[in-house]
């Protein structure tokens, strides 16, 4: 196989909103050469291009900053990095203005102001005409700024030079050609992980960036945070929940009862994702399934707005026969979704990781990084800052030295599945992973017993199947690397989730209390030889503005369930009634 060698000041890995902002800002900060690489193509890959048309971006004119700050910290159960949250709030409106000037089409009022609408959570969101339109404008902006775009190259591993970053190595998913990038600094913006489960447009999110960082020995965190969502059971349609819930969609159980309002009487179905998913999972545990999302009562005017903001999902609903004109015609069976992994690299306030010259942003950071569950807003601000800092770093250092031995070994490992005549299909590994992790009582309602059982299964997949992954051609090589990365991330998920012995973002049956005495910590993972080393670092609350009450309280989900007579607490454990 041929080799292509690239040399650059800044290398940006990932073509979503975080990576594209990073690349543009690195150029603007003076980096002479910026290369942005994506395994599909920049702007048409990752989850940004399939985003659900809304950004929960803070607006100094419309929102109360203190209130927004407090809400974000409380919703993160005090795991949020409050310093980076301040930076995010400082930058948010400027990034939106910039996107507007770069050609992103936002939904505006007749007076030309950004139109806002309620969605998930307490604050309103601004809307744009779908993720694809947004990212097309951003891709054009990156090109105009002089960013060199490299499409169809999947980065597999990071290159290091002693104690600093040196670049990355990958292959072209069409030709199989190996690409070596030598870079003074690297921005990792390919972090989102979705186990190729429900949700169109999200099945290329295989955690490639964070898996590469893990293999390079970096410290990662936040895999316990339990990214969850909900979606249709039988239709391959999504995303759009923010718009559905904001437009008045209701969720009912098999008895026709609206159950989410028990857990959040104020926001109801617009509640944050952990509460929404836990409420659905508890209904499943009670035998109250199937659950349905009902949008049949939504007014035509709101449906027309949904068509502008989430054009693709609306086209899909129409094709499924659920949407006719301006009306949804029937209820939709609804289930919990995920895991949507929210772990990422531990970064400082400059978005620099523990490896000098390597920066991370967007979903390559943990969700505690900035803005909790609204990944898009956090991605645009963290991307811009990471790009600027990466350019500053590149200005100060000399080009890295290539380590021929390291490159040759990583290349050998990368291409190995192509040489295997007999082996295992990526699809087989994927299905085994999904069956282990997807059950609602493994991921959404947790216990040590069930997570340990799932971990055992994943460990056996990792040991017995992953080393035998085979690839017929460069496309299948991509699928094999993705399957391997997803298996690794699944291990990190379960190890981290078992480590956190309390209920915080996600509810545990065996540790039903939120423990602010022992667990105001970020759970970290790191490669130690062939083992995953799990540990925890204190959230530096002494430096932060908002501090929680020290104490141990029954998790809000369990508190409601107990009051409803669904569970009782016995010997500090949940017992189902």
């Amino acid at each position: 196989m041929n080799n292509q060698e690239h040399e650059t000041d800044v290398l940006v890995i990932g073509g979503g909103i975080a990576g594209t902002f990073a690349a543009i800002k690195a150029r603007e900060a003076g980096a002479a050469e910026v290369v942005q690489v994506d395994k599909a193509s920049v702007g048409r890959s990752g989850c940004s291009a399939f985003a659900a048309g809304v950004i929960q971006a803070f607006s100094p004119d419309e929102d109360d900053r203190e209130d927004c700050f407090r809400e974000a910290v409380i919703k993160s159960h005090f795991l949020c990095d409050q310093e980076k949250l301040e930076d995010h709030l400082d930058d948010s409106a400027d990034r939106i203005k910039e996107m507007d000037s770069l050609g992103v089409e936002f939904v505006k009022t007749a007076q030309g102001k950004l139109q806002r609408q309620v969605g998930r959570g307490k604050f309103t969101s601004i809307m744009f005409h779908g993720g694809y339109q947004m990212m097309e404008a951003m891709r054009r902006a990156a090109s105009r700024t002089g960013v060199k775009l490299v499409d169809r190259v999947m980065i597999v591993d990071l290159l290091t030079d002693g104690g600093r970053i040196a670049g990355a190595i990958g292959f072209n998913t069409d030709s199989g050609e190996v690409h070596e990038f030598m870079a003074k600094s690297v921005v990792l913006a390919a972090g989102r992980t979705w186990l190729k489960t429900r949700r169109p447009g999200h099945r290329n999110l295989s955690g490639d960036g964070i898996a590469a960082a893990y293999r390079a020995g970096l410290t990662l965190t936040g895999f316990d945070s339990g990214g969850v969502n909900t979606g249709p059971a039988m239709y391959d349609i999504g995303p759009g929940n923010n718009m559905y819930m904001g437009s008045g969609a209701t969720l009912v159980n098999a008895d026709g009862e609206r159950f989410v309002e028990k857990y959040d009487p104020v926001l109801k179905e617009r509640t944050e994702l952990h509460t929404l998913s836990a409420a659905c999972a508890i209904e499943a545990k009670r035998g109250k399934t199937p659950l349905y999302l009902d949008m049949t009562h939504i007014e035509p005017e709101k449906v027309r707005l949904m068509r502008r903001v989430i054009p693709s999902p609306m086209m899909m609903w129409e094709r499924a026969g659920v949407l006719a004109g301006d009306r949804f015609t029937r209820k939709i069976e609804w289930v919990t979704e995920g895991p949507s992994v929210r772990g990422g690299l531990l970064v400082n306030r400059r978005y620099e990781t523990t490896l000098p010259g390597l920066f991370a942003c967007g979903d390559a950071m943990p969700s505690s990084g900035t803005w909790g569950q609204n990944a898009l807003a956090g991605a645009m601000t963290s991307g811009a800052r990471a790009g600027k800092h990466a350019a500053e770093y590149a200005r100060e250092v000399s080009p890295p030295e290539a380590d021929a031995e390291q490159i040759s070994e990583l290349k050998r490992q990368m291409l190995e599945p192509l040489l295997r005549k007999d082996g295992i299909e990526p699809d087989q590994v994927l299905l085994s992973l999904q069956e282990a992790v997807m059950p609602y009582d493994v991921w959404t309602l947790r216990s040590e017993e069930r997570m340990s059982r799932a971990l055992k299964e994943i460990e056996s997949i990792w040991r017995d199947q992953v080393p035998l992954l085979k690839a017929y051609d460069p496309h299948y090589l991509r699928m094999a690397v993705e399957a391997r990365n997803l298996a690794l991330v699944s291990l990190l998920l379960l190890k981290s989730s078992l480590f956190r012995q309390e209920s915080r973002e996600t509810a545990r049956e065996d540790y039903p209390y939120m423990d602010n005495i022992n667990w105001l910590k970020w759970v970290t993972v790191k490669k130690e030889g062939e083992q995953i080393s799990t540990s925890a670092v204190e959230v530096p609350l002494h430096r932060y503005k908002l501090k929680p009450e020290k104490g141990k309280d029954l998790h809000p989900i369990w508190r409601v369930a107990e009051r409803q007579g669904i569970i009782r607490i016995e010997g500090e454990r949940v017992k189902w009634a």
């Binding site: 190729k196 169109p200 099945r203 391959d236 349609i237 299905l431 991921w443």
Partner: protein, 72 residues
């Protein structure tokens, strides 16, 4: 999981769908110089190919191409 057909009568071989596909599902056929569905099972159902096709030659459906376990 959703690209169902590329209408060869309408396809002009501009290759935009191939360029946009995030999953490398679509490729150009060397002989006919038209796009074809090469790796259907890996389609992620995003409908992007249908939306970008200038000739309305691509048709997608919101149907799973493979088994995905249910959470309960």
């Amino acid at each position: 999981m959703g690209v169902r057909k590329i209408d060869v009568a309408r396809c002009t071989g501009c290759s935009i769908c191939v360029e946009y596909c995030p999953m490398d599902v679509l490729k150009m056929d060397g002989k006919s110089q038209k796009a074809f569905i090469k790796y259907l099972r890996d389609c992620q159902g995003c409908f992007l190919c249908e939306r970008v096709c200038p000739e309305n030659a691509v048709y997608c459906v919101p149907v799973y191409e493979r088994r995905i376990p249910l959470p309960w």
